[in-house]
Symmetry: D2
Subunit: 434 residues, 4 copies
């Protein structure tokens, strides 16, 4: 190339959740049997799509119109349905034109951060779901700017750290909230959301709130949708069908814009996101068409509750297995289907190992952790994978310096699930003692 063509943010685009799959696949070829607890895809973990739901989709694809483009913002009747649902709650009121569909929240996130001015930053939590932190960092060509989720306090946001991160950095233009949270499984009490909104109002910021797991809350906890607490602060809420229906392969999510007309610069910004989508014509039509039919189906609520009950039960099994393990900090998830486990400071070293019988597997793991600069939790995760076949994701992949790992609650077989977590508990013990 005669000129430099590599984007300033290229180095920030990393996604260990998927990178580790390549490693796991190679180890499988060497004879390893793997439990994939790394990726949040219920389907891949055996979740069955109910027949009534598949029939709704099959009916839809027999109609020619589901093959055509839809309006840029999305199918109008679906947006009308969603706006009515939001407005029913009594908080922020929206029209169908305040809704914009995307090809999954990844697409929404990519545009929301990608069409921010390069110098304007959005604070993301640490740890942070990588899609958010990578996209925000890539847009700026710099490391993500973060506020602390505190593992000693239920992984709730540290509001003092959040305020200072705003006050002392004028580049900060917005705050990202993920609630219920990925990767921690935390569910934020309403008063915390109110405090964050108050900070946004005081410092004249906008809020982005990822609510893709909003309907997956359990263990008796409760929270509020952003629309309930947002008042007159400009904001974007993100929703989707990937995790709930679940239809992750549909790449279908949407944003709801609150107070889009309260600030002229925010209005321009939202318009640029709409225009960016218009230039791509529209998002995928089929899932938008079927979504209202699915969630209004008489069997939908029962189906969803059965899954939530299972996550609740499994969150307690996981917590019970790990809570007394020495050297780690464990919080029980109360929402979504992830759990993040932290090693205590200083617990990990560069010498710890697990016994791996298969020579080739051992050699490969040793080679993978040998490069200087390999993070300590990545070292643990690779040994865990090589020794037990359990595949989790290093916590340092989630824009944090905390050492640990994220594991999903998606395994459907209770016995297998319990065994996986018991295996992890033993492995942690052995690794730290090694």
């Amino acid at each position: 190339m005669r000129t430099d063509i590599v984007h300033i943010g290229a180095g920030e685009l990393t996604y260990e959740i998927r990178n580790i799959v390549n490693v796991g696949n190679k180890l499988e070829k060497l004879g390893l049997t793997t439990n994939w607890e790394n990726i949040g895809d219920p389907i891949a973990k055996g979740e069955k799509i109910p027949s009534w739901m598949k029939e709704i989709v099959a009916d839809a694809v027999m109609q020619d119109l589901t093959y055509g483009y839809c309006p840029t913002r999305g199918v109008l009747s679906t947006r009308e349905f969603i706006a009515a649902e939001t407005n029913k709650r009594g908080g922020a009121q929206i029209t169908p034109d305040d809704i914009l569909f995307f090809n999954g929240l990844g697409d929404a996130i990519s545009k929301i951060f990608g069409f921010l001015k390069r110098t304007a930053r959005v604070l993301v939590p640490t740890p942070s779901y990588t899609t958010h932190s990578s996209a925000e960092a890539a847009h700026a060509g710099d490391k993500p700017l973060t506020y602390i989720l505190d593992p000693n306090h239920h992984w709730y946001p540290d509001l003092d750290d959040l305020e200072k991160s705003i006050k002392y950095n004028p580049a900060v233009a917005g705050i990202l909230i993920i609630n219920p949270d990925n990767p921690t499984g935390a569910v934020y009490p309403t008063h915390i959301l109110e405090s964050i909104v108050e900070l946004a109002k005081r410092y004249n910021l906008f809020i982005v709130c990822d609510e893709v797991y909003h309907n997956i809350v359990y263990n008796g906890t409760s929270t509020s949708p952003l629309s309930d607490v947002i008042g007159d602060v400009p904001a974007i809420a993100m929703r989707g069908i990937s995790k709930e229906m679940p239809w992750p392969g549909s790449r279908c999510g949407w944003i709801e814009v609150y107070n889009g007309d309260k600030d002229p610069m925010f209005a321009k910004y939202i318009q640029s996101i709409l225009n960016a989508k218009m230039v791509e014509v529209c998002s995928t039509t089929l899932p938008q068409v079927v979504f209202p039919k699915v969630v209004q189906h008489p069997k939908y609520q029962g189906y969803l509750q059965e899954r939530i009950a299972r996550y609740e039960k499994f969150s307690n099994i996981a917590h019970d297995c790990l809570k007394d393990v020495k050297g780690v900090l464990v919080n029980r998830p109360n929402g979504a289907f992830y759990m993040s486990v932290c090693f205590e400071s200083g617990a990990l070293t560069h010498d710890q190992t697990l016994v791996i019988d298969n020579k080739e597997v051992r050699a490969m793991v040793e080679s993978l952790v040998s490069p200087e600069g390999t993070s300590l939790d990545k070292r643990f995760v690779y040994y865990l994978l090589g020794a037990t076949g359990v595949c989790v994701v290093p916590l340092t992949s989630f824009a944090t310096d905390l050492q640990g790992f994220r594991v999903t609650l998606l395994e459907r077989d209770e016995a297998v699930f319990r065994e996986v977590f018991e295996t992890i508990a033993i492995a942690i013990h052995q690794y730290l003692e090694s």
Copy 2:
């Protein structure tokens, strides 16, 4: 907002093809009957999806796995199928890992330009399909850089203009080719493609080639896929299922990377595009699963040929209707399903009108064309719409200073099609004489 959040390229994101729909919809409420010849969606124009095709899709959606995520690059078996098809042609040889699926070519285009370094530019044709020119311009925060398609020479690229645009502007890092072309319907002879590849090689550039209409060529013309002529120049070819199957609402397209390993900076750039997709997890699964089944179905070729034969026939009807109209320059389309008509220089004025009987419609059209700076062809297009209900797109929306309009060949009813073009012919005459 306490800081400026509006992206440097926000002003470049325009897409008149869809903007005009809002105008048309408003006029319909005032009683106008509209012929939508503005948008390249065969479904919207009444194309029927054959039953056998819909059944393939319906079968697929009864399988749980089509609901899950797929690999970031796309479904492996589908990529294997595509790679084999490309390799069979005997030109550039690729592996499944040289293929990357996107949520439609709009998504691919957005990432290919969005993850270029801001200062590196890709020359786009003028006129240019807006998705390309807008995305390229937005990434740079500046107007698009263009090379001329010559309406006096079959809308072929002006190679002298192209070379000078490269030689005298060191910011140029790549060349975009659209072949068959949207919005002109031109099909480039192989020697023109070879000349462009030669320029890229000489100046050390990469090529992006949009081939979404590659299988829709007629009137006895022929061309080559990029893979046939690319040699060892780094390049990206774009393909999709929107226009051919047609399933535009699926948002499913892919890129094929040629010579991805021949230049280290190009390799890094391609990796950043892959990483950007990985951060969004993957593209939509269902259409990837069904694509090989559809195109290998025994009825597929016949179905496609029937459509192509229709476009050929209609291209000639359109050409016959307009070729002798004074004041315009007309080239018969030989591929895709668009035709671009140019007014002769000086033919349009700010005073020309068409008679619009409906008072409200007339008032609205007059109001729409009244702002200073309204382009002359936009004025014509709005009068045409108001007076006849025929909705086309001003040519100046396609990154060109040429005055004219783009019209589609998608209307399926021959009588209606002929009437639309006769109406346009008369309207041009009346408008220029007014």
Copy 3:
């Protein structure tokens, strides 16, 4: 212009110290008699250059070589003299190659900030000498990033605010210290300098220290040159002859680089500043040639001490005049020749005035303060000028939200000086009571 040519930082380049001169000049034409207490030029305020000093210069200009270029870094013998002086102190040790001459510190400041990467920021004090804050802000195309000088604590740096401004903003790469300070006249105790150096070390930053007033310290205070406390932290000290000799019209100052080889990126940065000067060939030769002769002349120390004694005496007169005035916060200057007076929060309103007898002058002042957004202290300063002829500079011109004004101690006539400050005291009282 066919393209936008206005620099991103153009709006940050403001310098009220000189802007107000235009206003004063216009008012003088309307009959006003002015006392210029706005600009730090001892010559303009009547300071006499001693004959022996002028003779040194006159001898020099009779030698042809003083007319030629000098080496890019500056005249070697002068740099040797300066390096020896610095090294004698026993702190950081330098060679002549660690010294780089500029056309005044304004030139040095312009290059030091102008050749920082656009995204790297240097924290400046608030209030701040405008040349620093404007140049830093212009380089970034954004408002200056500041740390607080506390008017309730001798205008010393607020170290807690400084640390948070570093910790929570990763864009911060350096810290600017002005000691003795302009515009406050503060002289920092050594322990404060040590604390700032410690912060720079902890967070891996560099320090820039403007020491142009280093030899003008009085009222029994003492401080340290940066070289005494810098340890191994990369740093730049700034010195000059404008204020001390005084020869501001010579445009002659220099930087001393400490630990230029301790950090490879700092080394590259310093090299780029040297290269930027080399591209301009060199700085002005004559003052470099005469400088060592002047400061080593037997009469120099006595001459300087006489001036310092005067600043000391006048600092106390000024302080006595203003310290008991209600509504303002006053700190006695202990170095340089400036004093900054702060209005108490809420003391100023948009309705206060002073009586101005001359109608035309009154009309002009009223017109000058009428635009919406005129800062409250600018309003006071313009009324003070119109009513009394005393010209000072609004404190808000110095990158601060504090309302007040800066006044110089340069008037040589004690009676006039006392009258000026008594006039100011009365005017403050009348204005606040109006």
Copy 4:
């Protein structure tokens, strides 16, 4: 450093004219006797400042006011004098406020390019005086954009290349002219200047014209100042006293702005340059004070004509010595005091040498030319220096791919001058034959 602080344009700041001095100094320590023909400093080459001129300066420095700051734009009476001189010519008319003094043209150049928006470019000639090309390139963080000076056509600008460089690169906002030219000694006929102005007008660009050598034209040639031909095109002319008086060590030059009010964006740009200077307070006072006295002195014209006559004579000696040497292209200088000699394409190889008797000198030269990528003309220049002591500057240092060297006409001793050029002639012959 915790963040990257190195400026995007740091790599563009190179100035071989001074770099080679370091090499020469080292070789002198090894016993080499050097003729410095590399730098355009008449004083260093023995030019005598006439007594009457030195006395004007000595008188000035006995007045206190020459030690003070002057107005930001410069000493008013001097600007009035200059404006009157310009206006007398009858072309563009200016006021004293259209003049802005700098600390030498290096300072002016640094601000003129440094306060352009990063994406706006000024075309510079190739070859180009390095201060211009480096400063322009550094501001953009990219290589300079150039138009050709044609060595086969008196080093005149290639107007066709210039127009294409404008037409095909929308980033171009201005054109730099150096007339009389450094490094070629060319003097442009008026019609060429008119053609360039016409291009600027047609494409809506501004012009920067370096006229520092305007009064040093000989060999019967003539040209026009920019003010004569500029019409209503926005422009900046650069003048100075370094070369003419000559007082390069004064760092004193100025710009004259023509049509500063004809384009609002140009007006803003000029204002930002003024503001940038205001932030540095002002430029050096003394040379501004003496300038009108010197150039109006009865002996000044005679003094200048004597020097010009010498440059004329020496330009012919130089030309005669080199014009018949095989393998080089030589144009006789007609202005300024530089000559650029080009090697014919292909004449230089990586193996050519000159005999160097001094072993240490030879070893050092061999080591200096050994790094891969050393340009062929740099190799020649280093061998010439090592073998003969004649120090010239490689032509490739002047933003050109042409191989050659620049040599000054400043040596005052005719016998020495002739010997230097005869030495060069022989060395070229021997080198090419070696």
